[in-house]
């Protein structure tokens, strides 16, 4: 059974047909990259996986998205449980205006964990996991806004990892960061990939090539090609993919 199994998904914003007949299987503990030009639907597809698009009025979906065999759009699914299992990191770092500690602890608290010792150890563990502990251990009570952009983004990754999601969605997580911070985030992605399945949307094809084992190329709402990263970048099956990765458009 695949970790993620997408069957014949169509998605509409009102009249606009944003995603067309998407099929995709992702195996556990993989890093999958979504690439494609702006407006191709890759972010939209990513946001279907934790039902973030539910917030948009007029959005409509047909087809099935299964995670561990369970259709996440089934009526019986509780969205908060789904989102706990499928974490998300956004394009711009969006820490809460709380202390560094509280930012990481937040996910645990809203999911009903009250045990102080557990929360403390979990916060330390996740911050270590996000390679941030040494930089922030002396200022856990300080505001998260005092951190640099790159540190904020790693804090957001730690925040997402604190509730132990089995899939982590990342929507262009490094596009607002400088090259050094980007490097750190990419390293982090590689580290985390043995704990969780990671799906990352990126505009940067080198980044996709560096971090992912499989890559999906989207164009005009269609999944053009989904293949091993190496294969897709060296010997793509489709002409459109070839055109895109060689920079002929997009």
């Amino acid at each position: 059974m695949s970790k993620l199994d997408v069957k014949n998904v169509n998605f509409y914003y009102g009249d606009f047909h944003a995603l067309k007949n998407i099929d995709m299987q992702v195996e556990e503990k993989n890093v999958v990259a979504f690439i494609g030009p702006s407006g191709c639907g890759k972010s939209t597809f990513l946001r279907l996986l934790n039902r973030m698009n539910d917030l948009i009025p007029g959005a409509r979906l047909t087809g099935e998205i299964r995670i561990d065999g369970e259709n996440i759009y089934d009526r019986s699914v509780r969205i908060d449980n789904l989102r706990k299992n499928v974490g998300m990191v956004f394009q711009r770092p969006n820490p809460f205006p709380k202390s560094i500690f509280e930012n990481v602890a937040y996910g645990l608290r809203v999911n009903g964990i009250k045990d102080k010792d557990f929360i403390e150890s979990r916060v330390e563990e996740t911050l270590r996991g996000a390679a941030l502990w040494d930089e922030v251990k002396d200022k856990l009570k300080k505001s998260a806004f005092a951190l640099s952009g790159g540190q904020q983004q790693r804090l957001c990754i730690a925040r997402a990892m604190a509730v132990s999601p089995s899939i982590l969605l990342m929507d262009e997580p490094a596009s607002a960061l400088d090259p050094i911070s980007t490097g750190k985030v990419e390293e982090l992605i590689c580290d985390l990939s043995n704990k969780t399945t990671i799906i990352i949307v990126t505009h940067n094809m080198q980044q996709a090539a560096r971090v992912s084992s499989k890559t999906a190329f989207f164009y005009m709402g269609e999944l053009i090609e989904f293949n091993d990263t190496k294969r897709l970048f060296t010997n793509p099956e489709k002409q459109t993919t070839q055109n895109y990765i060689t920079g002929r458009f997009g």
């Binding site: 934790n50 973030m52 917030l55 009025p57 908060d80 449980n81 989102r83 706990k84 299992n85 974490g87 998300m88 956004f90 711009r92 969006n94 820490p95 809460f96 205006p97 709380k98 202390s99 937040y106 996910g107 608290r109 809203v110 999911n111 300080k142 505001s143 998260a144 806004f145 005092a146 957001c156 925040r159 997402a160 509730v163």
Partner: protein
Amino acid sequence: MQRFSPRAPQPATTMNTPQYPSAYASKKKRTEQIVFFLFRLLSGAVALSLLGILGFIIVKGFSVLSWDFLTLPPTDGMTSGGILPAIVGTLCLMAGSACFAFPIGIMSGIYMNEYARKGKLVRFIRMMTNNLAGIPSIVFGLFGMALFVNYLSFGDSILAGSLTLGLLALPIVIRTTEEALKDIPDAYREGSLALGATKAQTIWHVILPMAMPRVITGLILSLGRVSGETAPILFTCAAYFLPKLPESLFDQCMALPYHLYVVSTSGTDLEAQQPIAYGTALVLIIIVLLINLLANSLRKYFSNKIKTK
């Protein structure tokens, strides 16, 4: 042959620099000076007139301020004594209307911005709230009398007065709450929801704390308005002369703005009452000022609680 490229430096002679008319620069500067002078003058005039009012009231009213003035009921046909019942009455009315308008207003604001689908209904409610805010306060008074005093038979009472004043405060509270929430970027909502928080948790733990400083500003504005209103309590609560302090929600009470009106327009000896009127006005202003100070410290407290630095 030099190949054209955008980076290649171009010889200065070919640069096409427009010849700016030299008189224009000084004209621009003069216009700017005049405009800024006008702005400064007008802001100064506003500040001055405010200071003028305050100064006038302070000068005229300060001499009557005394411990007795604050702690005694009016005596001798309101020509001497204090204004304690009016102070207590106004505080009761403020507290009562706050108890009514704050929770309902904040909850409505949250509902309108966070829960309700953006559509005709919300637009309609918003339009009605805006209209409500524009209705003359005497009309609120009339409505309060019809509904609370007569229909619900609360009688002329603090309860009826508080509810009427609460209605008046409600649109202010709703609008400022809604605006405050609207200004919180969706990134924070998404960030919280993505961690498995419910909508209610997101609002309670992330969004509301961030909006709190501005929500409080709205609450205080409405309190200031409520404390100074005369018309809504005219037919619903206010007593002309009632030296006894209110004992229950169903008692009538005196109120500072109404007392001010009474001592300056009617009574046994307008001449003798005049200082009392200024004293009353001064006390009213001081109360509003104190509330604003309290609001400021509350705002600071909540701003510090959400850690943005």
